[in-house]
Subunit: 233 residues, 2 copies
DNA sequence: AAGGCTTCTGGACAACTGTCAAGACTTTCC
DNA sequence: GGAAAGTCTTGACAGTTGTCCAGAAGCCTT
């Protein structure tokens, strides 16, 4: 039984909030450390040094290291998804949405590169450490849903039909972003511009203009290409 | 100066080969350990325990841990690319190539999941550990070229034109494979079938039928060269 | 002021890490 | 055979790690 669970029954609400608040504070320090050093080189003492407390306190608020990291992953999720839903809500044309989406990705890459480096690190860790897997899968799904909302809205605004399912759409943009991150952190000066260009080029390929009846593959491909050509003009 | 470099001037060729051979042997043990435990939890003693030797010998054949891991990454590359070029060489129709490519990815996922788990782990590590970055980028580029050979040949066989540049094509399939790996290792029974289906569905989206009827010999190559130029900029 | 919680500190522990060096064993060569 | 070079083992080292704990410090009620 965790200390948090023990306390809920017998202490006041404000104390619980304070307890939870400190957990958040410590998790923030942990996330900062993780994004700087990576999972492999982050120790509890290092985390404590990035906070206002000593290393012992971490075991007062978290059962063990896995408990702390898991909490961090969860906290990261909340911070992660919210950004793009505003873009979806405000864009009034397909072009504006595409521009906003691409620009959002570029900004994310530039401003939060370390944060997303951490995300890819932890997602890779979850391939080995089973404890992280459930949370990682949950975050991954929420990211997939976010991408799906964007491309769905894009199709809607263009009165078009989506030709790829949700997991494929997510995998594509995730691959593009990860590639851009690697090159950006490697010092490539064109990584930001490349990402923007590629996202803008890819997005129209995911839809085809809605027509009566089922779409023929050939027609869809031509349409996608035509749309892309008109877009870049 | 490494021990290997010291020796080259004054010992026989066979001794150098033997030295290099043992390095390979030890690197194999290291790769096996890494693919089992992940980078974060792999120690030199654990590697030695997966070999026929004691832990001290690792510092006889490798300067330090980074030297060993870097060597492993390089060795991994050789093992990695060769698989798909045969598929490109033998396929006589676009459909057969698509089937062979999808089946190759599925087989790779099923048979070498741990190996590729290691690859994604090390690629993530390279985001933090600068020592790995050059090798990781080199492997990444060779994988990108491999994907490009496949989709190029696919377009050629279908008398079609590619509508996405090389980095985008690689990012898409890399994203798809990584997604499939995560779900496969998480116990999803449909991960293999999903990957096959999605690859087969995605591949035709990358090309559009050439409209002039005659294929321009240089068009694709120009596109490829433009891509490379923008990449190195 | 006193006592009982909660919160936090700092030290201790065993286990583990990369690295290194002294020496033993093996092979090669004169 | 014997010296020299190459190969490998073993133990040690200094540092780090996660974890735990005794107790100090703060806070609140009585």
């Amino acid at each position: 039984m965790t200390k948090a669970a023990e306390r809920i029954d017998r202490v006041s609400r404000s104390q619980v909030d304070k307890f939870e608040e400190r957990r958040k504070t410590l998790a923030d320090a942990a996330i900062q450390t993780l994004s700087e050093l990576g999972y492999a080189r982050t120790s509890l003492r290092e985390i404590a040094q990035n906070s206002a407390f000593s290393h012992g306190v971490l075991h007062y608020y978290f059962r063990d290291k896995v408990d702390l990291i898991t909490y961090c992953v969860r906290q990261y999720k909340a911070h992660c998804v919210q950004r793009y839903d505003q873009i979806v809500a405000t864009a009034r044309t397909g072009d504006a949405l595409a521009q906003g989406f691409a620009e959002g990705l570029v900004q994310t890459l530039r401003d939060e590169a370390l944060m997303h480096r951490l995300w890819y690190d932890l997602r890779s860790q979850s391939l080995f450490e089973e404890s992280f897997r459930a949370d990682v899968l949950e975050i991954d799904q929420s990211l997939e849903r976010m991408i799906w909302r964007i491309v769905s809205r894009f199709a809607e605004l263009g009165d078009a039909r989506l030709v790829v399912p949700s997991p494929v759409a997510y995998a594509m943009f995730d691959g593009l972003f990860q590639q851009a991150l690697l090159h950006y952190l490697s010092g490539s000066g064109s990584a930001l511009a490349d990402l923007r260009e590629r996202v803008l080029q890819l997005l129209p390929h995911l839809v085809c203009p809605s027509q009566s009846g089922t779409t023929q593959p050939g027609a869809r491909l031509v349409a996608a290409h035509q749309q892309r050509a008109s877009h870049s003009a």
